[in-house]
C-alpha cells in the first residue's frame, strides 16, 4: 500500500516537473513569472490535499472492506465528531487564506506594469474576425505579427471590431478579452529576443482556430526599423495573407469564400474598399477600422500579386 503510494507520488512528481506535464508555460515576461509563482504555491497546497484525501479514501476502502462480513453486520455507529469537523473546516480556511495572500502579494507584479514604465511603449491590439490588427505609436500598423523591443514595457490597449475575442500570448501575458465597445489593457516585457506564439481564446466564429498571433521581440534598432519602414512595405502582403487568404486562399484561389484571382474587383480600389469596409453577404466587414493607407496597400498588393487577369469565361 505505502510503497505503491510512494511510486505513484514519484511518478506524479516527475510528470509534473517536466514541461508538458502539470507545469505552466515558461515565463518570458515578469507578469507570467509571478503568475507561475502563484501557480506553484497553489500546486503545492492542492497536491498535499489531493494526497491526503485520496490517500484516506483508498486506505479506508482497503481497511474497512467488508471481507466476508454480511450486509447486516453494522459498521461502528459513529454519528460525527464536532471537534474533528471543526478542524477540517478551519484547516481549508487557513490554506485558502494562505493561497489568497500569495495571490495578493504577487498581484501588483502581474496586473500592473512596474513603476519604471515611464518609457513604456503603447500599442493597440484590435481583434477582428479572424485576425489581429496592431497599431504602433507612430501610426504604423501590422497584421497578426506584433513587433516589440526586448526589455521594454509594452502596454497593450485591447479592442474588438466585431465579436468577443481573447488576446493571449502564454509566455508573455495572461488572457484579456477583446470586447466590442470596451477598452481593456494588459502589458508585458519580453526578457529575450524571440518569437512568441498565441491564439484567440474566445470562440469568435467559423475561423476561430486559425486566429493566431505572434509576438516578435527584437533589439530596439530592429524594432525602430520595423515600425518606420518595414511595416509599411509588407503591409499589403500581410493584409492579404492574414485577412483575405483565410477564406479566399493564399493565391486567391478560393476556399470558404469565392476565388479572387480572376475577379477584376481587385483592380478597382474604390469597389474593393467598399467591400472590405462594409462586408458583403457572409463576409464580415474585415476592414471596418482600417486607414486609407491600409486600404491602398491592400489594393496595390492584390492588383500586382493576386490578380491573374479576368478568366476566359468572363467570371
Amino acid at each position: 500500500m505505502l510503497p505503491a503510494l510512494a511510486v505513484a507520488l514519484a511518478a506524479a512528481a516527475a510528470a509534473s516537473a517536466a514541461n508538458g506535464g502539470f507545469s505552466p508555460q515558461h515565463a518570458h515576461s515578469p507578469n507570467v513569472h509571478h503568475t507561475n509563482t502563484a501557480y506553484w504555491v497553489i500546486f503545492a497546497f492542492t497536491s498535499v490535499i489531493f494526497v491526503v484525501v485520496e490517500g484516506a479514501l483508498v486506505t479506508f476502502i482497503w481497511k474497512y472492506r467488508t471481507g466476508g462480513r454480511g450486509r447486516d453486520a453494522d459498521g461502528q455507529q459513529v454519528h460525527g465528531n464536532t471537534r474533528l469537523e471543526l478542524i477540517w473546516t478551519v484547516i481549508p480556511v487557513v490554506i485558502l487564506a494562505a493561497i489568497g495572500t500569495v495571490v495578493f502579494v504577487e498581484l501588483p507584479n502581474i496586473s500592473g506594469a512596474p513603476a519604471s514604465a515611464a518609457n513604456k511603449l503603447e500599442i493597440t491590439v484590435e481583434g477582428h474576425q479572424f485576425y489581429w490588427l496592431f497599431e504602433y505609436p507612430n501610426g504604423a500598423r501590422s497584421i497578426n505579427e506584433l513587433h516589440v523591443p526586448v526589455g521594454q514595457d509594452v502596454e497593450l490597449t485591447v479592442l474588438s471590431a466585431d465579436v468577443v475575442h481573447s488576446w493571449w500570448i502564454p509566455q508573455l501575458q495572461g488572457k484579456i478579452q477583446a470586447i466590442p465597445g470596451r477598452t481593456n489593457h494588459t502589458w508585458f516585457r519580453a526578457d529575450r529576443a524571440g518569437t512568441y506564439y498565441g491564439q484567440c481564446a474566445e470562440l469568435c466564429g467559423l475561423y476561430h482556430d486559425v486566429m493566431k498571433a505572434t509576438v516578435v521581440a527584437t533589439s530596439q534598432a530592429d524594432y525602430k526599423s520595423f515600425v518606420s519602414s518595414q511595416a509599411t512595405q509588407t503591409l499589403g502582403k500581410s493584409e492579404f495573407e492574414g485577412v483575405c487568404a483565410t477564406c479566399h486562399g493564399m493565391q486567391g484561389q478560393g476556399g470558404y469564400g469565392p476565388a479572387l484571382a480572376t475577379n477584376s474587383l481587385l483592380t478597382q480600389p474604390a469597389s474593393l474598399a467598399a467591400i472590405v469596409r462594409n462586408g458583403f453577404g457572409k463576409m464580415p466587414p474585415v476592414a471596418n477600422t482600417w486607414t486609407d493607407a491600409q486600404i491602398k496597400a491592400l489594393a496595390q498588393y492584390t492588383k500586382t500579386h493576386v490578380y491573374k487577369g479576368a478568366s476566359s469565361s468572363g467570371g
Binding site: V78, E85, G279
Partner: protein, 550 residues
C-alpha cells in the same frame, strides 16, 4: 345531483400500455419518463462528444467541417446541461422525494406532468434546430453576443432562435418543477419527519429547487433580450448601437454558476444516501452535510464573475470573486471529508452503486482542487478558456454528477422496476467509465497548460499535443464502450427480464422508499411508520430484531 366519478364514467383508453404513460400524473412514472428521456438525450450528447474527440484525435484533421464542429460543440454543451443532467436530477427528485418523505405524490401532480412534457418539448425544439435555416446554434453554450446576434457574419438563420426557444421551454419546465418540489417538501413530510430527520437527498433537492427559482429568471431575461436583439431590432448587446456586451456576460453567469451547483447538489444528496448504506453506518455529521448544502447554494449566487476574470472587470471585482469562490471550497470540502469519514470503521460493501459513489469522491476531489487554480484570478488569466478548464468542469460534471447519477441508477433501479441491474456488467460499466474518463480528461489539464484553447476546430502541433489529444480520444472511446455495457445491462435486466427480482429493501437501506414494495403501488404506501430519526428503516429493522429476541 349526480356525483361524477371514475366508476360512473370509466375511461378505458387511459389504461392502455402506452396511453397510461401519456396521461399519467403519478410522480413515479413521471420520474421514470424524465430519467428515460434524459438517457436518450445523453446518447445524443455523447455522440457529439465522440465526434469532437474524433476530430481532435490528430492534428489538421478534417473529419467534420469547421461549421459543423462549432454546431457540435454548442449542441454537446447545451444538451448535456439542459437536456441531460438537470432533467435527470428532476427525474430522480420526482421519483424519490415523495417516497422518501412518506407522501402519496407530489403536491401538484398535474403541474408535474406539465413540467415533464414541457421538458420533452424543449428537447425536441433543440433537436429540431438542426433543420433550421443556417443550421443549429453555433456560438457555444454561453451564446455570447455579438456572435449569437442576427448579423450576416455571426449567427444569421434560425438555429439560434430555436436555441433560445428551447431554453425558454426548459426554464419554464424547471421553474414549475422547482415550485412543485419546494411545496411538496415543505408540506407533505410524513408524521415525525422534522427537517433534521429528512433524508439528505431531500435536503439537496430542496436547495436545488431554490437555486433554480433564483437563477433561472436571469437566463430567461438574458435570452429574451437576445431574442429581441435578433428579431425585434433592439440593441441590448450590440455595442455599435450603444448596447453592452458585458451585460450579457453578467446575466448569463449569474445563472450559469448556480447552474453548476444545480447540477451537482442533488448528486451530493445521492452520494450522502449511498455511502452510509454501503458502509453500514450513519452519515458522519448529518447536520454539517445538510447545512453545507445550504452554504454552497448561498455562496454559489456570489461567485458568478469568476467566469469573467478575463473580461477586464478590474482588481477589486476580481478580488471579491476570487475570495467568494474560495469560500465556497470550504463547505464543499466539509462534504468530501464527511463522506470519507463515513467510510471509517465501516463494513464497506462493494456493490455497483458504491463503486460509482467512491469513484465520484475520487474524481470530484480532483475537479474541486483544479477549481482553486481557476479561482486565483491571475492564474485563471493563463488557464481560462483552455483545455484545463474543459478538464476541470468535466471532472466536476462527469466525474461528479454523471458518476453519482450512475450510482443512483444502480441503487434505486430495484425500487423503480423491481429488478436488480446485473452486478458483473455493473462492474464493467464502472471500471470502463472510470478508466476511460481519466484517460480522456487527465491529459486535457496538460493540453491546457501547453496552450491549447477551447473550441478550436483543429491544431497543427505534433509531439505532446498530438499524444495527449490521441490519448484523450482513445479514453472517450473506452467510456463509450462503458456506456454500451450499461445499455446492455438495462436491456438484459428489463427487456429480457433476466435481472434478479428485488425485495422491498435489497440494500438494507435507511430511508422510507425501501419500506414500500418494489416497485411501489400507485399510492406509494398503505401505512407510513412514525419517523423518529433520519434512518427510519434501520429503526424498524432494529425494532423487529428486538421483538424477535424477546
Amino acid at each position: 345531483m349526480a356525483v361524477r366519478s371514475e366508476a360512473a364514467y370509466p375511461v378505458t383508453w387511459r389504461s392502455g400500455r402506452i396511453a397510461r404513460w401519456l396521461v399519467t400524473v403519478d410522480h413515479k412514472r413521471i420520474g421514470i419518463m424524465y430519467i428515460a428521456t434524459a438517457l436518450v438525450f445523453f446518447v445524443g450528447g455523447g455522440v457529439m462528444a465522440l465526434l469532437m474527440r474524433a476530430q481532435l484525435a490528430t492534428p489538421n484533421e478534417h473529419l467534420l467541417t469547421k461549421n459543423s464542429y462549432n454546431e457540435v460543440l454548442t449542441f454537446h454543451g447545451t444538451s448535456m446541461i439542459f437536456l441531460v443532467v438537470v432533467p435527470i436530477l428532476a427525474g430522480f427528485g420526482n421519483y424519490l422525494v415523495p417516497l422518501m418523505i412518506g407522501a402519496r405524490d407530489m403536491a401538484f401532480p398535474r403541474l408535474n406532468a406539465f413540467s415533464y412534457w414541457t421538458y420533452l418539448l424543449g428537447g425536441i425544439v433543440l433537436y429540431m434546430s438542426w433543420f433550421a435555416s443556417g443550421g443549429t446554434a453555433k456560438a457555444g453554450w454561453w451564446s455570447y453576443p455579438p456572435l449569437s446576434e442576427n448579423l450576416p457574419f455571426t449567427s444569421p438563420g434560425h438555429g439560434q432562435d430555436y436555441w433560445i426557444l428551447s431554453l425558454h421551454l426548459l426554464s419554464i419546465s424547471s421553474l414549475v418543477g422547482a415550485i412543485n418540489f419546494i411545496v411538496t417538501i415543505h408540506n407533505m413530510r410524513t408524521r415525525g419527519m422534522t427537517w433534521m430527520r429528512m433524508p439528505l437527498f431531500v435536503w439537496a433537492i430542496e436547495t436545488y429547487a431554490i437555486l433554480l427559482l433564483v437563477a433561472l429568471p436571469a437566463i430567461s431575461a438574458g435570452i429574451t433580450m437576445l431574442l429581441l436583439d435578433r428579431r425585434g431590432y433592439t440593441h441590448f448587446f450590440l455595442p455599435s448601437q450603444g448596447g453592452n456586451q458585458v451585460l450579457y456576460q453578467h446575466v448569463f453567469w449569474f445563472f450559469g454558476h448556480p447552474e453548476v451547483y444545480i447540477m451537482v447538489l442533488p448528486v451530493f444528496g445521492m452520494i450522502s444516501e449511498i455511502i452510509p448504506v454501503f458502509s453500514r453506518k450513519p452519515i458522519f455529521g448529518y447536520t454539517a452535510v445538510a447545512f453545507s448544502t445550504i452554504g454552497i447554494a448561498f455562496f454559489s449566487l456570489l461567485v458568478w464573475a469568476h467566469h469573467m476574470f478575463t473580461t477586464g472587470l478590474g482588481t477589486s471585482l476580481d478580488s471579491f470573486f476570487m475570495i467568494s469562490s474560495m469560500i465556497i471550497a470550504v463547505p464543499t470540502g466539509v462534504k468530501i471529508f464527511n463522506w470519507v469519514a463515513t467510510l471509517w470503521r465501516g463494513n464497506i460493501q462493494f456493490d455497483t452503486p458504491m463503486l460509482f459513489a467512491l469513484g465520484f469522491i475520487a474524481l470530484f476531489t480532483m475537479g474541486g482542487l483544479s477549481g482553486i487554480f481557476l479561482a486565483a484570478f491571475p492564474v485563471d488569466w493563463q488557464v481560462n478558456d483552455t483545455y484545463y478548464v474543459v478538464a476541470h468542469f468535466h471532472y466536476v460534471l462527469f466525474g461528479g454528477s454523471m458518476m453519482g447519477m450512475f450510482g443512483g441508477l444502480y441503487y434505486w433501479w430495484p425500487k423503480m422496476f423491481g429488478r436488480l441491474l446485473d452486478e458483473r456488467l455493473g462492474r464493467w460499466h464502472f471500471w470502463l467509465t472510470f478508466i476511460g474518463f481519466n484517460l480522456t480528461f487527465l491529459p486535457q489539464h496538460m493540453l491546457g497548460l501547453l496552450g491549447m484553447v477551447r473550441r478550436i476546430y483543429t491544431y497543427d502541433h505534433g509531439g505532446l499535443w498530438e499524444a495527449y489529444n490521441m490519448i484523450s480520444s482513445i479514453g472517450s472511446g473506452i467510456m463509450a464502450v462503458g456506456m454500451a455495457v450499461f445499455a446492455v445491462n438495462i436491456v438484459r435486466t428489463q427487456f429480457f427480464r433476466l435481472g434478479r427480482r428485488a425485495a422491498n429493501d435489497p440494500w438494507l437501506g435507511d430511508t422510507l422508499e425501501w419500506y414500500t414494495t418494489s416497485p411501489p403501488p400507485e399510492h406509494n404506501f398503505d401505512t407510513v411508520p412514525y419517523v423518529t430519526s433520519a434512518r427510519p428503516l434501520r429503526d424498524l429493522r432494529r425494532q423487529l430484531q428486538e421483538q424477535r429476541a424477546t
